[in-house]
């Protein structure tokens, strides 16, 4: 369950990155419409919420799961940012 929650969180964070102006340029190699970006970000938020709900459902102490979740989010943000950096370096700037 923990692995599923972490995967959901990381995918959600990558979707949030892909839904940002700079991130969509790097990850999707195209500029997206405002509506499409918002939709991708909404999907990302949904996965992030799922990454919180999954451990809360099985936790013996939900408050500890709640405290732990932002720690995972921090790592997922840094990994998503580093993924953007590596992709940008590998592909070269689009603009």
């Amino acid at each position: 369950m923990m692995v599923a929650a972490i995967l959901c969180g990381q995918c959600g964070m990558l979707l949030l990155a892909a839904g940002s102006i700079r991130g969509s340029d790097i990850i999707l190699r195209r500029s997206l419409s405002h509506l499409l970006r918002r939709s991708i970000q909404a999907a990302g938020m949904l996965l992030l919420v799922l990454s919180l709900v999954l451990p809360l459902r099985v936790a013996q102490a939900p408050v500890i799961a709640l405290i732990t979740w932002p720690g995972w989010i921090s790592i997922e943000i840094v990994l998503a940012a580093l993924a953007c950096t590596v992709l940008n370096d590998l592909r070269g700037p689009r603009r």
Binding site: I64, I67, I73, S74, A81
Partner: protein, 451 residues
């Protein structure tokens, strides 16, 4: 109007960083390490793997040892073994009033054969006392925590655009890369940073705002402690000798009363006096809050004097916030996340300090700015080197050396002073790689050899 507000916030952010950055960096780094203080203490006692002994039995043996070896001490403070720290720890004052702290063997209750070291307790104490006498270290730490709260809030205001697109790190771009790293780590772990700085300031709040306590209790601090901890009762020694009752039955009774929370600490006041007291403090397994249950027994009769289970909402809120800060509840994963987020905080502070000097060095820096630049190098690269030295000193100092624990701590400050002096007299572009290389070597030496 909005522009001038942000400019003011930017000025405040820089000034707070400049004034408190060095001490905050050391506090953040030592705080991160103290998350693993039990594991560090275990590593620093390599003589043997402590055998798993029933915590109550180990605590009882520790108290027996103290009764034979420190009978004239006015108080003994014994921490029970836990799964993470399978050994009891005892603290007691010697004849000069200097507190001695020793890890005790859980089977014999004696410190014999175990090296004299503070272990992870050094980082824990340094984190909020800065190795300074009371109250100065705690006061500085409290003000630094408050400055960190303000620094974070002003940082959110001045870097607000980062939240629109915080997946940005552009390496190899000098100043821009440092700003990206500062913003990325600051935004990524912001909930943790806000929580840890706020709970840190609350933990030391009575030092920051002492006036309400003074207004109510008029310098009678004991009365305020009694109100805060009704069962943590104390009384002066009577002057008549007395003998402690067998401790184990009292521990069993307290353990039953606490209903599975276990026993965290046992305090014994006036142990050789007729007015002896035994105070047993409950553990807090699986709860964020720290201690909620306390029982006090008469030390010579074994009669229960007072028992208190904390239910007052304000006190419970305080113990929750304190528990959130010290993370005693935390399972291994949460502990690692605390550690990494703490390192991120140290990196945010360090990158902010480095950014300040990089910006000034691009113009015509005056002497003061050059000194700050070199001090930054000494603190940012010298502090981890000094902390790594603590681990090395634990392995290198002779086991029979008198005051060995004190010499380990002195080694930290000697290397720290050397690192700062080196950075002050060496060009920063040379000092950085040399000090960081020293860090790498020290860490490899700690890890790479079977000691």
């Amino acid at each position: 109007m909005m522009g001038s507000f942000r400019v003011t916030m930017a000025w405040l952010h820089s000034m707070l960083g400049l004034v408190t950055g060095w001490v905050l960096f050391a506090i953040a780094l030592s705080g991160s390490l103290s998350v693993f203080r039990q594991a560090i203490t275990l590593w620093m006692h390599p003589e043997r793997d402590p055998p798993r002994v029933d915590p109550l039995e180990a605590t009882s043996r520790a108290i027996d040892w103290l009764a034979h070896n420190a009978p004239s001490a006015p108080a003994w403070y014994v921490t029970s073994p836990t799964a993470e720290a399978p050994f009891p720890t005892a603290i007691w004052p010697d004849a000069q009033g200097t507190y001695i702290q020793r890890i005790l063997d859980p089977q014999t209750g004696s410190p014999d054969g175990l090296r004299d070291t503070l272990g992870g307790e050094f980082f824990y104490r340094f984190h909020f006392e800065l190795q300074l006498p009371y109250p100065w270290g705690r006061l500085i730490a409290a003000m630094a925590a408050l400055a960190l709260v303000v620094g974070l809030v002003t940082g959110i205001i001045i870097h607000r655009r980062i939240f629109a697109d915080f997946f940005t790190f552009r390496p190899k771009r000098g100043l821009r890369s440092w700003l990206d790293a500062h913003n990325l780590l600051g935004a990524a772990a912001l909930p943790f940073h806000l929580m840890i700085s706020f709970t840190g300031a609350v933990t030391l709040g009575s030092l920051l705002l002492p006036w309400s306590t003074q207004a109510i209790y008029h310098h009678d601090m004991m009365a305020s402690y009694t109100d805060l901890n009704p069962a943590l009762y104390s009384r002066p020694a009577s002057g008549q000798p007395g003998h402690l009752v067998p401790i184990r039955p009292l521990l069993d009774e307290a353990d039953r009363h606490f209903g599975g929370a276990g026993i965290e600490q046992v305090y014994i006041f006036n142990p050789s006096d007729h007015a002896a007291l035994v105070t047993v403090i409950a553990g807090n397994d699986h709860t964020v809050s720290t201690t909620t249950g306390v029982m006090t027994f008469d030390g010579t009769t074994g009669q229960l004097i007072n028992a208190h289970t904390e239910t007052r909402p304000v006190i419970r809120l305080y113990t929750f916030l304190y528990g959130l800060h010290v993370a005693r509840f935390a399972p291994a994963v949460t502990r690692w996340l605390y550690f990494l987020s703490g390192l991120a905080l140290a990196a945010v502070i360090g990158s902010g300090m480095h950014l300040w000097t990089l910006k000034r060095l691009r113009q015509q820096p005056h002497m003061g700015q050059r000194i700050v630049c070199r001090m930054n190098t000494g603190i940012l690269a010298g502090t981890p080197l000094a902390f790594a030295t603590y681990f090395l000193a634990n392995r290198l100092l002779p086991l029979t050396l008198a005051n060995r624990a004190m010499h380990e701590v002195q080694a930290v400050f000697a290397v720290w002073a050397l690192g700062i002096t080196f950075a002050l007299f060496r060009r920063p572009d040379r000092a950085w790689p040399e000090l960081l290389g020293g860090n790498a070597l020290a860490c490899l030496a700690c890890r790479g050899r079977t000691w």
